[in-house]
Symmetry: C2
Subunit: 211 residues, 2 copies
């Protein structure tokens, strides 16, 4: 039983590390300029990895950037899982998710910029995030917490508003992010059929430590 080593032998780990370096560099580029016409050479330099290695891991730049977006979505989803587990009320989950996202725009700008630039295109792809959100929505509908909504349309609206919050955080950094998140979450709860009074209260309920 090894103490901390990831799976695979040293060879495979080394290979995986090179791949990760490429993905990390691609994520940085997506976050900073979003300009995917950058040369493979420039990406390899940023990754501090030999140029030719690229072809051991990816067939094209497109493939690399796809992997980078998937990686960012995965990390975002995992952060949600870690921070929001234990919240049972779907309405509270929405609020907490929005507030956490606003916070992450400050604490994890690189990750959130990727989301901002590429998130919309993955609203309905079957990444962990969309699946998870749909499940939470269905729980809320089944329990009667959410009413008068169709799951797919609600997923659409939830994703769109979340992205617009992220966009708002970056476009208007002078605004109070948490306040905007609470305000938007309240609106989204009403949208999901939560009575206005409840929505107001739930959105402002103290939340577990979001880290």
């Amino acid at each position: 039983m090894s103490t901390s080593a990831p799976p695979g032998n040293r060879f495979e780990r080394r290979r995986a590390e090179t791949r990760r370096a490429f993905v990390r560099a691609a994520r940085q580029i997506l976050a900073e300029t979003g300009d995917t016409s950058v040369s493979i050479q420039a990406i390899a330099e940023r990754a501090d990895v030999g140029f030719g290695s690229f072809y051991n891991h990816f067939e094209s730049k497109t493939e690399l950037f796809e992997a980078a977006v998937a990686d960012a979505l995965e990390e975002f989803g995992q952060t949600f899982d870690e921070r929001l587990n234990g919240i049972d009320d779907p309405a509270e989950l929405v609020t907490a998710g929005f507030r956490l996202s606003a916070r992450m725009a400050d604490s994890h700008p690189e990750l959130m910029q990727v989301l901002r630039r590429r998130g919309l295109g993955h609203l309905y792809s079957d990444n962990g995030l969309a699946t998870r959100a749909l499940r939470d929505l269905q729980v809320g509908i089944a329990s009667g917490r959410f009413t008068d909504v169709e799951p797919v349309v609600a997923l659409s609206a939830l994703g769109g508003t979340l992205l617009s919050l992220v966009e708002l955080r970056f476009a208007r950094p002078e605004l109070d992010g948490d306040e905007a998140a609470v305000s938007l979450a309240e609106m989204v709860l009403r949208m999901l059929g939560v009575p206005p009074d409840d929505a107001h209260e739930v959105a402002r309920r103290p939340l577990p430590d979001l880290g």
Copy 2:
């Protein structure tokens, strides 16, 4: 008084036409693949214009694609102005705007794909669309039709949900677009503080011909 000629002499019109050809080609590319790393040569070919002409109009590809997005937003805004003028109730405007957008995803796919790929980044820039939406929101707030919302946050949510509807249209073409638009508009109205019963009724009210 000339019959149909746009402003400027023939020279200027010819010049303007070349520029338009570039913008049109750039819009097509944004709609089809969104891959802005396409070569200037390829763009010029698609525009059926000499390659060197590019530099008479734009300093860089980025500048061209910015112009292309602005052009699409402008056209979208003008379509709204044409089709939705005469609708006084801000709540009805929201519904009509959503339904019109869903329809345009079918009738003007090229335009709407540009919006889908680049719209989020222009939610808060001062293009005619955002300005117009903010004005309508403020009218609604002033008249009491919309309640419990902050204008900027509401603008954010409105833009995000609209984009998610467009995304939905393209990602799930098998769904009934108008139905989804009505359903989402109803949710958005609740979000804007319209009482659920009203929201249900208004979203389904017969609308003036949207063309």
